[in-house]
Symmetry: C2
Subunit: 898 residues, 2 copies
């Protein structure tokens, strides 16, 4: 469906666009030429030429606004500024907390109150603010971006309001010092920025209205988000591709690189200009030795980190989901929390900040350090634990926080890892804009550090045996651990690249790659990625990946999963059939076949189109017309007695009226973008504003009985949140199509005007019984599909298409459903739902005849070819009644199976 | 077409595969269980259990052979070994040359002879060897891989022979010291290796026969090729994606990473084990300072390198193409060279090696150094030119070569760049396996070094003003230049990542990224990439990219480029129509429509299938059957006189025979993979062995007159090279389908056996006139499509689909052509050819009605909706003759346009 919609829209758009451009171009050039002439006339000096030149430059610049690179530069610039300003604010927030905490060191209770109140207030504000302004801003946003880039329209997720809510909410949330990340939200913010920017740019150039271009730009924006968050352009592009795309168009590659590089550059340049740094450097620069970064014999330890991180990552995703599901299931808690929406964030923040209170339990887990500070200390290239004892090492700067007079540094690290692990999993469930990448990254670094310190304690002089001593660098282990755990949670390999760019060193490339790949292998076989997990929790329309060892998927075919009982309408059906189908079936689109016998698929029609057809047939305007016609006929009948020759002209004239109406409808459509989006994706939240176009003549307007019936039975569109659009009555000013029909009725061509009386004259004086009778009669008429938008080439598959291929096609083209045909005949339909179920392996579906995955192998190999032959024969029989020399008798097929 | 083929084949394959696996699994488990029981019975000791365990492990291992990771590990291992062994051999070859040159330093002439003869011999051997063994091994192979991954089958490019030719040829070519690269060929070698390996593995597990899986593995293999060539796994994956894919499946990402990392790891470990290196390090390790790698104010210089590299890259591609085209055009030269194929390589090698002769002109361009050595010196972190004079700097090691007593180092660098530039462009046209990446990389490094040295001379104390002096590092400029020029020639951004991995330092990330992006921007707007240029030169079936600023492409629609005069066959056509269509039309596939009036598209049929149908109808077996039947009828006629009641049974029985034959044919098909590949891609070189299945009963077997006609007129398949398959006569043992038909005729069901006489009895005693008459009669019969393979769902587009979308779909699905339909009606066809022409902007095509790109905007907006309505109406009129209450009169449409 979406594929059809897309092509149609694009075509129409292109047409309009070109027409508009041509027109405006002509107009502009004319006006400009005249302006130039005017200038030349009035000021025949040398100044005129300059002005003409300026005008030309201006014109040239405006024409260039549509170029991709201008948009990308703007996007990069804006995002770099946003990122930098946010970082600045967050740093101030964190400093303020430290300052408060430090200033009150006389009284522990006051210190505790200051330490705890500050984050609680910030988080509560953040939660409340986003809740009020735009609830869509909650969470990381990567799952939503993944869904949007798959082709589903989630409009509310790309508004300016959401942008504001996300930026301010995120700043507050991160300023609180909770274990939250900025990476995921930044992907969303960049996409929001791109969407808002392209809406702004569309004021200048027309190309910004193009949907497919905007999707391409969104993909680039995701890369910018990661790129300017970590100042990691390459890693950003790769991470965004891995996280948001299923199939990536390589031609979009440069866009991402260009924008992300520009953005990262500006982001770092801002830091230099602000005298934060002397030069452009990596965010978390490391200083490992270059000559011998690690020993070949250390690789097993790195592999262990990778495998352990894999398990840890899966556990994190599981824990996160468990917490969300627990909160949902406990109805008592849920009810209470729903009432006091801000209580949950406040409670969680209170718990976490209490535990990290430095003079309290926080002393055992470096609670004093912010996320960035702990990362810097963890990536330090000095060894903390020498000779297995943590005593003699000189902790300087922030590293001091890891030192505890009574407790070993190993114990501190273990406590840090364990505590931060569940804290992060819990904190990311708070309804504020937040990501989980950074907390996970820090935990991974701590785990790596733990392993590294253990290795350093175990081999104090390094493993290398001949000659020079190369001590083990625990900081390298921290780098490996960070990349591995982050990779395991997000199911990406590109965390390795991000790590290189963050640290500015690529010397540990092999250990990092090995650990990341191992972590991915383990994590992917245990749990979905964090983002996929959230997609499932939020019930976004997704298509699960086929996974690593998916070769059994080659063996499932479309015929095993397709719905065979397809609802269709025939080309020669009457309105009653339409009515019945609409009553019984709640599908968004219906197949249009040639006839019930041939079942040749001609196209697909949207449900709303059929409702429109039906309401036009049974609607009040038409009934009034009928009454009017009746009146005219009555009048005529009386006049016929005096002049019998005029009998013929009347029906023809009324025919013309009818045709006038219908073509006004159909020819007006292509020029109206509102109407040209007939095939909205299934999950689009049907808001109260857009609903009326679907049922143009609301139930209260036309007092049709059958229609009322129908609209009451219309399905509740599955909104993502609790949408209250069902209550809103149809605003009369929005029922445009019906209005236009009426207008053309009100103003008939002059030839008819004299025939039909004034429109106002006709009174709707029919009784309910009469109406019912009239409607019954109308329902028996044949449907006229002329003024109905039909998707003329819905996507088709064959029975034998494998699940693997189907998945590929659905992902590639962002399909919602596809018809299964066999030599033109419609035999089934596969929608996203069936496909998802088949991939997930569940086979007990209500109303869907799902055969067990390997059912097709039970059938003998000949059956389907037989089917095909039979079907072809049916076609043949149907369309031809020629006596063939050798006829296909039913007994033959019995014989064949011998 | 390919899409249809693909889905069908996969389905059929999956079915068979599963059936086979199930069967063999059952069989195996039964035999194993019995074996285990046997073991238990005979040796009731503790040993038995061990054995059972072993057997189980073995079974488990065998079942695991199909897993992806095993294949990838094997591939990585093999490629790492190949790469390492090749590098080893190349190093020995180069050393040998140096040793010879060094040993003969008493006599310059002898030295010259040694210096020149050695590469000439090696290159000539390489050229001759590849020419004889596998001419497909010539060149880089990346263009071919791009074509193959697009879905075109170029079988000869993935054989073991080609593998051997490529490996040995490349080793010799690189051992000669010519400016040639190993990267491109390595992509090809890795793919070859994957193809050969999967053919080998298919002996164990069935999944290796799956085509779509093999394509996925080929994509991974490309990454492995780059990865193990440069020990750059990440860059390898990205480069291979950029160079070979149009749309990349993110789910294949990990495969590439996994295999490339493993391969790079083994490649480097081999070096450590061989004591070449102490530890795993980067190939061309740099030692730039970490604290202040470059100054922000140096960025303009880096940008200049980028832009200049862009122009240089475009020039290189242009020069390369120019040389090839010049050699082709000069017919006299061409003729001479074609005769003496090895002369051209020898001459070019002679010229280049003469110019690099160190005591001669080579002294001004560091001719003594090999490619790797010059790269190492160029990336050196010391400054050569201090205070603008090249005197006082201490050249150590290989850097000595850059020093010339009389000539400035700047002049040496300029000469090096200019000479190497045209030498590389020339050398890559030699018909040996060779790439251009590495030479270009070195030239870029030299250019960067030149700029860097100039900067160092200009700002001797660095640009930074406050306090510490940070001198400029020319080595950093070399890194930037190398990445930029390589990126410009190949149109990739990932050369940046390759550079980081090659040098082991990421400190110059920003300058490198900026320069690479600028170089790409310039180069892409001037010339196609080197690989695309070669694709065009070699005339491979490609689809050009839409390019950067492709927004005007949104405005062209399918209806502007489609061929409206589609050749079709109708469901009820007779054999004569088939014959005529086959005679006049040379398309690979033909559309099957319901009837000429309705034009409803039912599917597409391959030309070969139609030929088969026709030959079955007119073939000798059927004629013999006819004669036999005649004889039987004659016999019957005689017997009828005595027993009239048996008249009825005879025709029915013969019907059954006919049906038996046809279903035997169609039911046997799904289980025969040979026959299940009916829709071969258009460009597949039809080899002599496979041809017979397409025309199973060759012209010499059936003496049909019309058929002979037809087969003589059959189009010469466009082979890529001069394929001599036209001469090979049809081997009789290969005409299987026809044979099977005969077999089923020979063994009719018992009920008929007594009716039909012995097959051998019938004599082909018809005269040519009789045959012609008989054929005429046969041609008037209606075609029975029952035993014909029809692609039941060919890809369909609508008229309004934009060129942009069409391009995307064709690239995504690897289509060859697509039908344009409107509500089921076939109205046009778009093939790769039309699409390519539309993208390239040429509109003068013979036989193709191409409207100018923006033609559709000249039509008014209403026209197409009118068309649609009219078409629907036609359908309606055609299928229904009901009198509608309001008829669509032609006058109405006139009125509408008012």
């Amino acid at each position: 469906m979406m594929y059809g919609r897309y092509t149609q829209e694009l075509g129409v758009f292109a047409k309009e666009e070109a027409a508009r451009l041509r027109e405006s171009g002509q107009r502009r050039s004319v006006t400009e030429r005249s302006r130039a002439l005017d200038l030349l006339e009035y000021e025949k000096g040398r100044c005129a030429k300059c002005r003409i030149c300026t005008v030309r430059c201006q014109k040239f610049l405006i024409s260039r606004v549509g170029e991709d690179w201008i948009f990308l530069v703007l996007l990069g610039l804006v995002m770099a500024m946003v990122s930098w300003v946010m970082d600045f604010c967050i740093a101030i927030c964190l400093q303020a907390q430290k300052w408060m905490y430090g200033g009150l060191d006389s009284n522990v209770l006051l210190q505790y109150l200051a330490w705890v109140t500050y984050p609680v207030v910030l988080i509560t504000f953040s939660a409340g603010f986003t809740q009020i302004l735009a609830p869509q801003a909650v969470g990381s946003g990567i799952p939503e971006m993944k869904t949007i880039l798959r082709g589903v329209v989630l409009k509310e997720y790309l508004t300016f309001k959401t942008f504001v809510a996300k930026v301010i909410g995120l700043t507050c949330a991160l300023g609180s010092g909770m274990p939250l990340g900025k990476e995921g939200p930044f992907v969303h913010i960049a996409s929001l920025c791109a969407a808002v920017l392209s809406r702004f740019m569309s004021l200048f150039g027309g190309i910004y209205e193009n949907e497919s271009r905007n999707t391409e730009m969104l993909a680039a924006a995701c890369a910018v988000g990661v790129g300017c968050c970590f100042a990691a352009p390459i890693g950003g592009v790769l991470f965004s591709i891995e996280v948001t795309s299923t199939f990536f168009a390589v031609r979009n590659y440069w866009r991402g690189f260009f924008a992300a590089t520009f953005s990262a550059f500006i982001f770092r340049v801002l830091a230099v200009w602000n005298k934060d740094e002397e030069n452009i450097t990596a965010l978390f620069k490391t200083r490992f030795r270059l000559d011998f970064p690690f020993d070949l014999q250390e690789l097993p330890a790195f592999a262990v980190i990778g495998i352990a991180s894999g398990f840890g990552g899966a556990l994190f995703v599981y824990l996160n989901r468990l917490i969300v599901q627990f909160m949902r299931k406990q109805k008592a808690i849920n009810k209470f929390l729903m009432k006091k929406r801000l209580l949950y964030p406040a409670l969680v923040t209170l718990l976490i900040s209490t535990l990290t209170f430095p003079p309290g339990f926080g002393q055992f887990m470096a609670g004093k350090l912010t996320q960035a500070e702990s990362l810097v200390t963890l990536l330090d290239n000095r060894t903390w634990a020498k000779q297995g004892i943590a005593e003699e090492f000189d902790y300087i700067g922030h590293s001091q926080a890891w030192k505890h007079p009574e407790v070993n540094v190993f114990v501190t690290l273990v406590i840090f890892i364990v505590m931060k692990f569940w804290m992060s999993a819990l904190a990311t469930t708070i309804p504020v804009p937040c990501g989980a990448f950074m907390p996970v990254f820090v935990i991974g670094a701590a785990f790596g550090r733990l392993v590294g310190e253990s290795m350093a304690a175990w081999f104090p002089d390094g493993i290398h045996t001949d000659g020079t001593i190369y001590p083990i660098v625990p900081g390298g282990y921290a780098v490996v651990g960070a990349a591995a755990l982050a990779g395991a949670v997000t199911h990406t390999v590109s965390t390795a690249v991000i790590v290189f760019e963050l640290t500015g060193q690529i010397s540990h490339i092999l250990p990092v790659m090995i650990a990341v790949i191992l972590a991915n292998a383990v994590a992917q076989s245990l749990q979905p990625s964090l983002y996929d997990s959230i997609i499932r929790i939020k019930k976004l329309p997704y298509l699960p990946e086929l996974g690593w060892g998916h070769h059994e998927k080659y063996n499932i075919r479309v015929e095993d999963i397709m719905v065979r009982d397809v609802r269709y309408i025939t080309l020669n059906c009457c309105y009653r059939d339409l009515h019945n189908v609409l009553l019984t079936e709640h599908l968004k689109t219906l197949a249009l076949v040639e006839s019930a016998e041939s079942m040749i698929l001609l196209g697909s029609i949207e449900r709303a189109q059929l409702q429109l057809l039906l309401s036009q047939q049974l609607g009040r305007p038409r009934r009034l017309e009928y009454i009017r016609k009746q009146a005219v006929a009555e009048k005529k009948r009386l006049s016929v007695l005096s002049n019998p020759s005029s009998e013929d002209s009347s029906p023809r004239a009324s025919q013309e009226v009818r045709f006038q109406i219908s073509t006004e409808e159909s020819s007006a459509n292509p020029t109206r973008p509102v109407l040209q989006k007939p095939l909205k994706p299934a999950l689009k939240r049907s808001s109260g504003v857009e609903r009326p176009t679907e049922m143009p003549t609301g139930p209260q307007n036309n007092s049709g009985i059958a229609l009322k019936n129908l609209f009451c039975a219309s399905p509740v569109t599955e909104g993502l949140e609790n949408n209250n659009n069902m209550e809103s009555p149809t605003p009369p000013e929005l029922s445009r199509p019906a209005k236009r029909v009426r207008i053309s009725v009100v103003e008939p061509p002059p030839s008819i005007k004299n025939l039909s009386g004034d429109d106002g004259d006709v009174e709707d004086d029919m009784t309910i019984r009469e109406i019912a009778e009239w409607e019954e009669k109308q329902l028996d008429e044949q449907v006229n599909f002329n003024n109905c938008k039909i998707d003329p080439a819905p996507f088709q598959l064959v029975e034998r298409t494998s699940l693997h291929k189907t998945h590929t096609i659905f992902s590639l083209l962002g399909l919602d459903h596809a018809y299964v045909t066999s030599i033109g005949r419609l035999i089934g339909v596969v929608s996203l739902k069936e496909l998802r179920k088949a991939i997930e392996g569940s086979v007990t579906v209500k109303g869907v005849k799902v055969r067990p995955p390997l059912a097709s192998f039970r059938d003998s190999g000949t059956s389907s070819s037989e089917n095909e032959a039979t079907e072809l024969h049916k076609l043949w029989d149907h369309h031809k009644s020629m006596s063939l020399p050798r006829e296909h008798t039913p007994s033959a097929s019995d014989e064949k199976s011998q």
